[in-house]
Symmetry: C2
Subunit: 94 residues, 2 copies
DNA sequence: TGGTTCATTGCGCATTTTAGCAATAATCCA
DNA sequence: TGGATTATTGCTAAAATGCGCAATGAACCA
């Protein structure tokens, strides 16, 4: 990677379908990281790295609870803003 | 790429510093594509392909004017929304 | 301490993305 | 038509990403 700005980090985080799905799985609130691998059909290591990316971008946050790590959206408005963005770019003409 | 949603397309488009810069260069309005290669120090082909990506994501639009192609943001609010997003994710705690 | 569960990291491999050169296309004008 | 300018596309090498396995770490409990 060349350089990284806040925005490019966010872009990278959003640029993969798996990570988008992970974000959406957090829509209803905090969840244990352990639920994602089985639900998404990928290796736990992939989940871990994906969350690391999302976290670096500032999109999610985590806290440990014993042996588990609980993940949540960094901001409750996040998905709304993302929807807005998608709408903004999607309503082009027709 | 696995699949593509509106959001992942946007993510990909934003995920490269060069393309972010291109977007910002459009902040003040329409510009000729020909200005970008010299200004960004890359080959014109890179500019062309980068715009193609941004366009597929719905972030920019173009119109031909004779031999030139004039590019502009797909929506005037776009940069505001992106700033909002960056702020949203950036103000994490401290 | 040893066992269990969940998370992260090291590594190699496959896939995707990026960059530039050269060739081709598109448009205008003399 | 032929030349000039800008844009796009084909191709290849290089760089970045994505993936799973295996190993390691972290926290808990009996």
């Amino acid at each position: 990677m060349r350089e990284s700005t806040a925005l490019t980090l966010i872009g990278k985080a959003l640029s993969h379908p798996l990570r988008e799905r992970m974000l959406r799985l957090l829509a209803d609130g905090e969840r244990c990281g352990c639920e994602f691998a089985p639900e998404l059909g990928v290796d736990p290591s992939v989940v871990s790295r994906s969350f690391a990316l999302l976290e670096r971008a500032g999109l999610v946050q985590s806290r440990r609870e014993g042996v588990r790590v609980m993940w949540s959206l960094a901001d409750p408005e996040l998905l709304d803003v993302l929807e807005r963005l998608a709408t903004l770019t999607g309503e082009r003409v027709a």
